[in-house]
Assembly symmetry: C2
Homo-oligomer: 673 residues x 2
């Protein structure tokens, strides 16, 4: 334990201001909750990291134009190798693994994406799929001698990787591969760093041996630009994708090969190779196990996205909740104005998202921790694939919903760019699409669940290492569950909430499976039958399945909280998020027969409103507990001192200035500017 003086030094008071009144109303000690969420070394590491960014000129350049954004972004990529916090020892504490992307993501989301492409995507592919001879490439990245990118997606194919059209044909005479882009639709695209910086690329291409046989897609590592001139190699056509909705610091690019020859060593040959004469050789004994491992690797990117979404969510609710406490408007007849957080509508707009921020914070840290410790377990690859393919969509969709609500809840002043909610939304939006389009990913999870159902019916024991779906072993208890309680206290009890989620998972899984079976009888085609089954069942199923798992994880962690007040407020947070999500699926609770008559619906709605009301006085302090440093908030509305109007006044463009072009307006209109 940490003693109380030390704690106060570690977590000092927030600056005084209009938020003090709300801080005084909190029912719990925020420092205790903070230390439950983040151990001391994480807090210290985060402080050091923020300080390093705050004091580094390269991370504090003002960016305005597209080209300038890119220039600074390029400098940041190199600088990252020079800041000690980028090399912190992550092995001891896995929470740090989450802290690093959290901080960088808030400081500059583009910067984090480029870092992840260069240092994770490219490097892991070379390390994981290559052999001894490829390892010098990793070192060159770490020394900023090379920049790497990862080229899978093509203009015409993103999700359906089997239909990628880039060709790599082995030429035995020259002992190497000829890379060829047959048409524009086969051009590689969207790869980060490809647009301007990358010197090397990991490229997915269909491998053809000289006998004309296609062996499916393989990965090649190829040099695309000269390191000293940054000019493309001959045979390479490479360019930038252009301006995007957000993340403009990332130089996403496109790439075409014009019979580009690379030596044989370009093939990342850990699992398969081509002999000098052009014979294809498989080097791995158990392809199924390899597939499981591949799934687990793909999952890692998605798990990290959950952390990124959580960091954005925390930032957004921090801004919106602090503003809601400071902003006053209307009031009871002839009385003083009241803070807008006092309004039921406003509580309902924000507090479910605030609750979600805690739930996702705990879940995203836990799942990364489990990923590091349990990934060797059999069955792990399939389960983590199902979890990440549901959790990344749920987290990114929920974030978009939260960002829209927070932006609107901050009304007029929230529409200023400097409120930060617009850029956040524009950047966050990409999470719904990259590392697997959300709807396509959902289908992966529902396929996993549909395969389990027949086993459940046969009474088989369901045993996966992450325990996301093992409760199906006890199917009878779940199906016999009834809502026979009618008080608020019973309704919000974690046990009952978990039971409702389990019941709904089973209901949707059964309905989904039955619909799939019926469709199979008609169409005799699994693809068409799954398609027929998507909207209401499979999609809702994956959402409920993963939310159950998220809540189960949170509940287990919560049970270790010893402080009564902290525990109580976390129970409310748990219940509010859980019931808020459940209410969106109320139609299935009714049509499936768990809810009957007016009472349970009313109880559900009243419970949500009561939780909102009961959490209202804790809202500012909850936000204080998880809020990023003011430097990372970077919004005049969301700072910890709550002085919204003072910050706004200071940042407004100077008054009484004319635009430079004011004279143009006094001359008659011209046909051309």
């Amino acid at each position: 334990m940490v003693d109380s003086n030390e704690i106060r030094e570690l977590l000092p008071e927030f600056p005084a201001g209009p938020l003090d009144e709300f801080r005084g109303k909190a029912s719990f000690d925020w420092r205790k909750l903070k230390l439950f969420l983040e151990p001391k070394d994480v807090i210290l590491y985060k402080k050091r990291f923020v300080e390093a960014l705050k004091t580094d000129p390269i991370f504090n350049e003002e960016e305005t134009q597209h080209d300038e954004i890119r220039r600074i972004s390029a400098h940041k990529i190199r600088r990252m190798n020079e800041i000690p916090e980028f090399h912190a020892d992550f092995s001891g504490n896995l929470l740090k693994l989450g802290v690093f992307p959290e901080v960088l993501n808030l400081a500059d989301p583009s910067n984090l994406v480029t870092f992840m492409v260069n240092r994770n995507l490219y490097t892991s592919a070379v390390e994981g799929l290559g052999t001894e001879k490829h390892q010098h490439l990793v070192k060159a990245i770490e020394e900023s001698k090379n920049f790497g990118c990862f080229c899978m997606t093509e203009i015409g194919h993103g999700s359906d990787t089997k239909r990628l059209k880039t060709k790599a044909t082995y030429d035995a005479k020259r002992r190497g591969f000829v890379l060829e882009t047959p048409d524009f639709e086969a051009a590689k695209c969207w790869s980060g760093l490809l647009g301007q910086l990358a010197t090397h690329a990991v490229v997915y291409a269909q491998l053809y041996t000289p006998d004309g046989c296609c062996h499916g897609f393989h990965q090649f590592v190829v040099q695309i630009r000269d390191e000293r001139t940054l000019l493309p190699m001959s045979g390479i056509v490479v360019g930038d994708m252009g301006v995007k909705i957000g993340l403009n610091g990332v130089d996403n690019g496109y790439l075409l090969f014009d019979k580009y020859f690379v030596g044989k060593e370009a093939l990342l040959n850990r699992y398969a190779d081509v002999t000098d004469d052009g014979e294809y050789v498989v080097l791995v004994e158990d392809p199924k196990r390899m597939f499981g491992a591949a799934l687990a690797t793909l999952s890692e990117g998605r798990l990290k996205i959950i952390s990124l979404c959580t960091a954005f969510l925390i930032k957004a609710v921090t801004i919106a909740v602090r503003y809601a406490a400071v902003r006053k408007q209307f009031g009871p007849s002839n009385q003083e104005e009241i803070s807008i957080i006092e309004y039921q509508t406003h509580q309902h707009r924000l507090l479910p998202y605030l609750s979600a921020a805690f739930v996702y914070k705990v879940f995203s840290a836990q799942i990364l921790r489990k990923h590091a410790s349990e990934c060797s377990h059999p069955g792990y690859g399939y389960e983590i694939h199902a979890i990440s393919s549901a959790a990344k969509p749920v987290a990114s969709w929920f974030l978009m919903e939260a960002l829209n609500e927070c932006r609107q809840a901050c009304a007029g002043h929230g529409y200023l760019k400097s409120a930060e909610l617009g850029d956040l939304r524009n950047d966050a939006d990409a999470n719904c699409t990259y590392e697997g389009e959300n709807h396509v990913l959902n289908q992966q999870t529902s396929n996993f669940l549909l395969k389990i159902w027949p086993k459940v019916l046969k009474g088989e024991h369901i045993d996966f290492p992450l325990e996301s779906i093992n409760f199906l072993s006890d199917i009878q208890t779940i199906m016999n569950f009834r809502v026979n309680f009618n008080s608020y206290e019973e309704f919000i009890h974690p046990r009952h909430i978990i039971d409702m989620y389990r019941w709904l998972t089973v209901h949707l899984l059964k309905a989904s499976y039955d619909k799939y079976e019926a469709s199979m009888e008609k169409t005799k085609d699994a693809f068409l039958s799954k398609n027929d089954n998507q909207v209401y069942f499979s999609r809702r199923l994956t959402i409920i399945y993963i939310n159950h798992y998220i809540l189960q994880t949170f509940q287990r962690e919560m049970s270790s909280i010893t402080d009564e007040n902290v525990h109580e407020v976390m129970r409310k947070v748990f219940a509010l998020y859980a019931l808020f999500v459940l209410e969106k699926h109320i139609g299935f609770l009714y049509s499936g027969g768990l809810f009957v008559g007016g009472e349970p619906g009313t109880l559900l709605r009243d419970s949500i409103l009561r939780l909102c009301h009961d959490l209202k006085d804790d809202a500012v302090t909850l936000v204080d507990t998880i809020a990023p440093d003011d430097y990372l908030i970077n919004s005049f509305m969301g700072k910890s001192d709550g002085k919204v109007y003072e910050h706004l006044q200071k940042q407004l463009p100077v008054p009484n200035a004319r635009p430079t072009w004011w004279r143009e307006l006094l001359t008659p209109s011209q046909s051309k500017l």
Copy 2:
């Protein structure tokens, strides 16, 4: 009627391309549907208007930087007075009144906002609230000699206009008013054109007579900048709000008065005045009637926003539907890839929004027409206030939902700025906030409805001119309505759909009123009781009330369609939008007892999916019918020729170019850039 050669000349074929296949599948003649939606003169006017914009260099400048956006925007404001289409005679055809903002809104949303501020908001205030002596100011606007803005909102007060703090104190000696901004929170803000251009402003201020009496807020028209120098008058502090999430062509500004003296004629004195000696005089006999008229005036801005939202919605679904037809991904085992619009998920993602585009298009035109013809009817002011206060929120929220879905449905390529969906969302976002924050407006509508309910209970006849709520006169029939049908055909019948909406309106109104009454008994305060009642009841009530009215309007118009195929497809469009919205409120259909057991829920969901499936082959042609000109679509993904990849290839930045700053990357990292 128009003969068929003439029709083909008026509405030529679309350019050939990958969309032809889908166009061939349509079940109806798009030209017939087009002429139902837009008469010939509207189509011709729109063509001329688009042509004028397309060929005018000022409307085709490339904008990149903030200051440049502003410069071009300022030129556009002046140019608008020189283009004949801006002066089209709108009196003959009210649809034109909708066409003008529709076209301009798509060409440049900022441009439309500045036009509306300058030519509508400022001018109508001067015309409507002023007297003879103020009319020369209107002429000066039309001749681009002045630019006008409208200053109501203050930094600390937006929605609660009664608490505005700007003061206008009459000084009898100098025969004028001293305008004073007591502190920064009282600074006027967010007014369009105030930031850089406005020479004049209509200002809301609390009027104080020399006896120290405050007579509430009044409007003053004051000069704030010199027309020849664009410098602020002495005593004025005026500046720009800074960069925003969207609409950056609008120079929103802030304004503080430092004991700024204006002559007595600054008071817009149609309804009240101050004598030379400083006595306050009311000039109007029936203040209640005046209040009704004021409500109707405020409504007009909101009704126009519905048209703007509709134009954005049409643009978004045009882009997303055309791309969904062109984009192919996956397919049944061993068969060719299929268009993503063939997937149930994708149909469900887009077709409800496509349907909504038709429903809103018809509604927004009709409500503007009614507004022009019936506004003298007693009770009109209150009803149109209730309608506009519910319809503007519903339209703007639905649009944001649609834009998020369309953006994501266009996946990776949809994240390019040139896809246009990002800017659309950033601009559209403001609709949720200006002309009344959506949640605050909703409360206005629910107040209107809550006042009617006791009359319904007393058996009074409910008679409002727009017939939005008159069905309450027949309360018994509605309350006795039961879902005793179980086929798809019956379920999607317009009569039954309208009945379900009426039942739900009554259910929510009754529940809302009961909760309000119960709360009143406890709190004895109407303000607090209404607040207590907001989230589930009042808000849902206003959504269902207004959707019923929108659907009723659409259904009545639809009945005039004589062509069987066109009528059939519009029936599907009607049902899909209606059921899609209804499904979001399914919890209340169950908890209120209209739905019992699994069957109606299943029928509702299956009907939605079947409608999606049945509309899928018509989707491209439906979009063709309402799509804006390719110039206005301005997106590589949404053009009428469907050549997505060709347009993408053409617009990509040139390959093999280095950034200008490439050398910086080869030298060691510097501490300062």
